[in-house]
C-alpha cells in the first residue's frame, strides 16, 4: 500500500474520531437541555405551590384558629408554638419547634422534630427525626390539635 495515501487516511480518520466524540458531546448537551426544559415547563421541578391545605378538625387549646378553618400549605412548612414557625400553634401541648410538613412533588411527608407530646398520623405516633410519607386525607394530631390533610 502506498505510504502517503495511508498517512492521509490516518489523518482523515483521526479527525473522524474526534468528530464522533464531539457529536456525542453535543447530543449529551441537547439531551440534558431538553429534559431540563421539560421539567421547568411541566412545573414539576419547582413545587412552590403545594397542592394541599390543612383543615382544622379540633383546635384544642390553641389561640387564633377555629374548627373548620383551612390553612394553606407551602412546599415546606414548620409547625410549632414559637413565633418563627410558618404555622404558629399557640397551644400548651405543642412544642416550640414541633414538626415539619412538606410536599416533595409527588407526596406529602411529615417529620417530628423531637416534640414533647408527639405527632400522630392516623393515630400512629411518628418516630422523632424520621420523615415519613403522609397519605392524602390523613388525620394529623399535634399535641391536642387535630387536622385533616386535604388536597
Amino acid at each position: 500500500m502506498d505510504l502517503i495515501n495511508l498517512n492521509t487516511l490516518l489523518f482523515a480518520f483521526k479527525w473522524v474520531f474526534v468528530g464522533l466524540i464531539y457529536f456525542a458531546l453535543i447530543v449529551v448537551v441537547i439531551a440534558v437541555r431538553r429534559e431540563m426544559g421539560l421539567r421547568l415547563g411541566g412545573g414539576q421541578a419547582l413545587p412552590s405551590a403545594a397542592p394541599g391545605r390543612l383543615i382544622v378538625v379540633n383546635p384544642g387549646g390553641a389561640v387564633g384558629i377555629r374548627a373548620g378553618s383551612t390553612i394553606p400549605l407551602r412546599s415546606e412548612n414548620s409547625l410549632g408554638a414559637e413565633p418563627d414557625n410558618d404555622i404558629v400553634l399557640e397551644d400548651t401541648f405543642v412544642s416550640g419547634h414541633h414538626a415539619r410538613l412538606g410536599w416533595d412533588g409527588a407526596e406529602w411527608w411529615l417529620e417530628d422534630l423531637g416534640s414533647k407530646n408527639g405527632t400522630f398520623v392516623n393515630q400512629r405516633q411518628c418516630r422523632p427525626y424520621k420523615p415519613e410519607p403522609v397519605p392524602p386525607g390523613a388525620a394529623l394530631r399535634l399535641g391536642e390539635i387535630k387536622f385533616e390533610l386535604a388536597e
Binding site: V28, G41, P133
Partner: protein, 461 residues
C-alpha cells in the same frame, strides 16, 4: 414546550451508545494501524485482534440498554453512555500502552463484573434501597479489608502495600473499597442519627451549633481507622480523597451552622494533632519526594534519602515522571500526535496514574478537554438526581452526593497531578485508568444512580 412523546423511549441513549461503540472501534483500529506503521509492518494485520473486545463492549452496553427499554424506563439516558464513552477512551489508551493483554485484563477484571452489577441494579432497582439494611456489615467489611491489607498486604516495588492476596484469586487493591464503605457508612449514619443530632445540638459561642459529642464518635472513628490503614498502606492519595469525602458528606448532610461548628472543631483537632506529628512523625519519603518534585521537577539539587545523598538529582529521581508527563502533553499539543504514533511509554505508570497524559499526547487537547466536560456531566447528573429525590430518601441522596464527590475529586486530584498544578498523588482516574477494582466500583456507582432513577420513576408513575 416539548411534548412528553418526544422524550419518551430511550432514543438518545441508543444514539449515544452507538457513538460510544463507534469511537471505541475506530480508536482501537487507528491505534493498531499506527503501531504497525511505526515499525514498517503491514498496517492491517493486527486488526482482527481488536474485534472481540469491541463486540464484547457493544454486547454488554446493548444488553443494559435493552434491559432498560424492556422495563420502559425513560429517565436518565445520559449517565450510562457518558460513563461508557469515558471507559472507551480509557480502553484505547490502555490498549496503546499495555497492548492486547492489558486491554483484556481491564475488560475481564473491571468492565464485565462492573456491567454485571450495573445490570443487576437496573433489573432489580429495589436492591439499591435494600442496601440500606446491609450497609453496616458491608461497610465494616469495606473497612476491614484495607486494615487487613495494611497488615498482611503484598509489598510492591515502591514499598507500598496496596494489594491483598486472597487465596488463589488475583491480588485486589482495597483502597477504593474503603472510599465506598465510607460513603455508605456516613449516608446510613447521617440518615439514622443526623436529624436527631441536629435537633439536640446546643448553641455554643452565639451562632454556632454543636451536636452531642456521642453522635460524632462513630463517623470520626470510621474515618480515623480508614486513614490509619491507608497511611500504613502508603496510599496517600486515597487519604486525601477520604478526607474530602468526609467533609463533603458532612456538608451535604447537615445545615450550614452545624457543618461550620463541626468543621471548626475538626480544624482545631487537626492543627493540634498536626503540631504533635510535626515533632514526632517523620514525613514518609514518598510524600517528601512528591512535594520536592512538584516545586521544581527539573531541579538539579541532589536527592536526599534519610539525610544522605543518593547520588542522583531530583530531576533524575522523582521529578522524572512529571517531566515526562509535561513533555508528552506538549508533544500532543492541540490535536495530538495521532493514535499509536506518540511515545507514551516514556512516562512511567502511563496505564494507571498517567492515563490522562496518554490521552493528551496521542489524542490531543481536542479530546482532553471533552473528557473533563464529560466528567462534569457525570457529576451534575448525579447531583441533580440527588436533588430531586424525596426527603424520605435521605440515605440514597447522601450516597449519590458521596459518589459524585468521589468521582470528581479523583479526576481533579489526578489531572492536576499529571499537569503539575498540584503535588502528584497516586489515585486512578474513574472509568479510564487500568485497575479492575476501581473500574468495577465506578460502574457499580453508576448502577446505583440508574437504579435510584428507576425507583423515582416508579414512584411518580
Amino acid at each position: 414546550m416539548l411534548s412528553r412523546e418526544r422524550v419518551s423511549g430511550r432514543g438518545i441513549e441508543a444514539l449515544l451508545l452507538f457513538l460510544v461503540v463507534a469511537v471505541l472501534a475506530l480508536g482501537l483500529a487507528l491505534t493498531s494501524i499506527g503501531l504497525q506503521v511505526r515499525q514498517d509492518l503491514n498496517p492491517v494485520v493486527e486488526l482482527p485482534a481488536i474485534v472481540p473486545p469491541v463486540v464484547l463492549v457493544a454486547a454488554l452496553l446493548t444488553g443494559a440498554h435493552l434491559l432498560l427499554r424492556r422495563q420502559r424506563r425513560t429517565m436518565e439516558q445520559v449517565l450510562l453512555p457518558v460513563a461508557g464513552l469515558l471507559f472507551a477512551l480509557g480502553l484505547i489508551a490502555v490498549f496503546r500502552v499495555r497492548g492486547t493483554e492489558g486491554m483484556w485484563q481491564q475488560l475481564l477484571r473491571g468492565f464485565v463484573p462492573g456491567m454485571g452489577v450495573l445490570m443487576l441494579f437496573i433489573w432489580r432497582p429495589q436492591t439499591v434501597e435494600s442496601m440500606r439494611r446491609w450497609t453496616l456489615p458491608l461497610s465494616l467489611v469495606g473497612l476491614a479489608l484495607p486494615i487487613a491489607t495494611a497488615v498482611f498486604g503484598v509489598v510492591d516495588e515502591t514499598g507500598a502495600r496496596l494489594s491483598l492476596q486472597l487465596g488463589p484469586l488475583p491480588p485486589i487493591q482495597t483502597s477504593d473499597m474503603v472510599k465506598v464503605a465510607l460513603i455508605f457508612f456516613l449516608a446510613w449514619y447521617i440518615e439514622r442519627e443526623g436529624n436527631e443530632a441536629a435537633g439536640r445540638a446546643r448553641i455554643v459561642f452565639g451562632r454556632l451549633r454543636l451536636p452531642p459529642v456521642r453522635h460524632l464518635i462513630p463517623g470520626g472513628m470510621f474515618v480515623a481507622l480508614g486513614t490509619l490503614a491507608l497511611v500504613q498502606m502508603q496510599d496517600h492519595g486515597a487519604v486525601l480523597i477520604l478526607g474530602i469525602l468526609f467533609v463533603g458528606m458532612l456538608y451535604a448532610g447537615f445545615e450550614t451552622r452545624i457543618f461550620v461548628t463541626v468543621g471548626l472543631l475538626g480544624l482545631v483537632m487537626t492543627v493540634l494533632v498536626g503540631a504533635v506529628l510535626a515533632f514526632t512523625w517523620e514525613v514518609p519519603t514518598v510524600i517528601r519526594y512528591r512535594f520536592i518534585a512538584f516545586v521544581d521537577p527539573w531541579s538539579e539539587a541532589p536527592l536526599l534519602l534519610d539525610g544522605e545523598p543518593t547520588g542522583i538529582t531530583v530531576a533524575q529521581g522523582p521529578g522524572y515522571q512529571i517531566q515526562q508527563s509535561i513533555y508528552a502533553t506538549i508533544a500532543g499539543g492541540l490535536s495530538g500526535t495521532g493514535l499509536g504514533l506518540g511515545t507514551p511509554s516514556y512516562v512511567p505508570l502511563a496505564h494507571s496514574d498517567f492515563i490522562y497524559t496518554v490521552v493528551l499526547e496521542e489524542m490531543g487537547a481536542v479530546v482532553g478537554l471533552p473528557v473533563l466536560l464529560l466528567f462534569v456531566v457525570v457529576m451534575l447528573r448525579l447531583l441533580r438526581l440527588a436533588a430531586i429525590l424525596p426527603p424520605t430518601q435521605n440515605f440514597e441522596r447522601l450516597v449519590l452526593v458521596g459518589v459524585a464527590i468521589h468521582l470528581f475529586t479523583q479526576v481533579f486530584v489526578m489531572v492536576g497531578g499529571t499537569l503539575n498544578l498540584i503535588p502528584l498523588t497516586g489515585v486512578t482516574i474513574p472509568f479510564m485508568s487500568q485497575g479492575g477494582v476501581a473500574l468495577f466500583v465506578n460502574l457499580a456507582e453508576i448502577g446505583i444512580a440508574m437504579g435510584l432513577a428507576a425507583r423515582l420513576e416508579e414512584a411518580r408513575r
